[in-house]
């Protein structure tokens, strides 16, 4: 059934935004984490989204026109770690500096709102597409 194509694309968008949200929440939760299993402070993570062609569901001539979205990898941003002078801190180095994560809480909040709105947009698109199918089923009534 052809309406399943748009449902699947919406589903991929929703999943991608959920994963993005997970990454943002992880960044926010670790905004001041200075110890990690791999050593050093927590480093900001970023989800990378990539388009993936939808296969075998649409007319062969138009197949390349459609793509689903997928989180391909989570990259680590090691730039801009903050150094704070605090010689009494147990994690301070020889010069008395403690390295804090490079998480900017305000930027993360903005990303969070973006992910939230994108999720809402996908849900709206799904509802619209569902209404189209329901309208089609009303034909001839």
């Amino acid at each position: 059934m052809d309406f399943i194509t748009s449902f699947d694309i919406c589903s991929s968008g929703l999943s991608a935004q959920r994963k993005k949200m997970d990454v943002i929440v992880s960044n926010l939760a670790n905004a001041s984490t200075i110890q990690t299993p791999e050593g050093g402070p927590y480093k900001r993570k970023v989800a990378v989204l990539a388009a993936e062609p939808v296969r075998g569901k649409f007319g062969a001539a138009l197949q390349e026109a459609l793509s689903e979205v997928k989180v391909t990898e989570i990259i680590e941003d090691g730039e801009g770690l903050k150094k704070v002078h605090d010689p009494t801190h147990p994690n301070a180095d020889e010069q008395g500096f403690v390295t804090y994560p490079n998480v900017n809480v305000v930027a993360e909040m903005a990303d969070m709102i973006t992910a939230n709105r994108a999720y809402e947009a996908c849900v709206t698109a799904l509802d619209a597409s569902k209404n189209m199918v329901l309208k089609a089923l009303d034909i001839g009534k």
């Binding site: 059934m1 309406f3 589903s11 929703l14 062969a60 138009l62 026109a65 569902k130 199918v133 329901l134």
Partner: protein, 101 residues
Amino acid sequence: MNRVTAHHEVPAPAPQAPKPAGGAPGKTQGSFGDMLKQAVTEINRLQNNADQAITNVQLGRSGSIHEAMIALEKADLSFRAMMQVRNKILEAYQEVMRMQV
């Protein structure tokens, strides 16, 4: 531009379509009953998927809420479509039974 050419390509398969029918005259690809059976099987599969998805979410096994909801919507819409086909068939049947001979 790409899209425009793609649109022009759509009618291209049409001349091919009558060929298989011409190759085997009188023998169509499965009967209406077969097609209906296939559709019902597909709808049943979607219903089972929806069941499985909602069970997984409720038991906290795997899958997300939106996937379960989308599976439910798929099952709902395909079932509605099937009901419409059934209504039309029954309507036609009743129309025939009402025929004066």
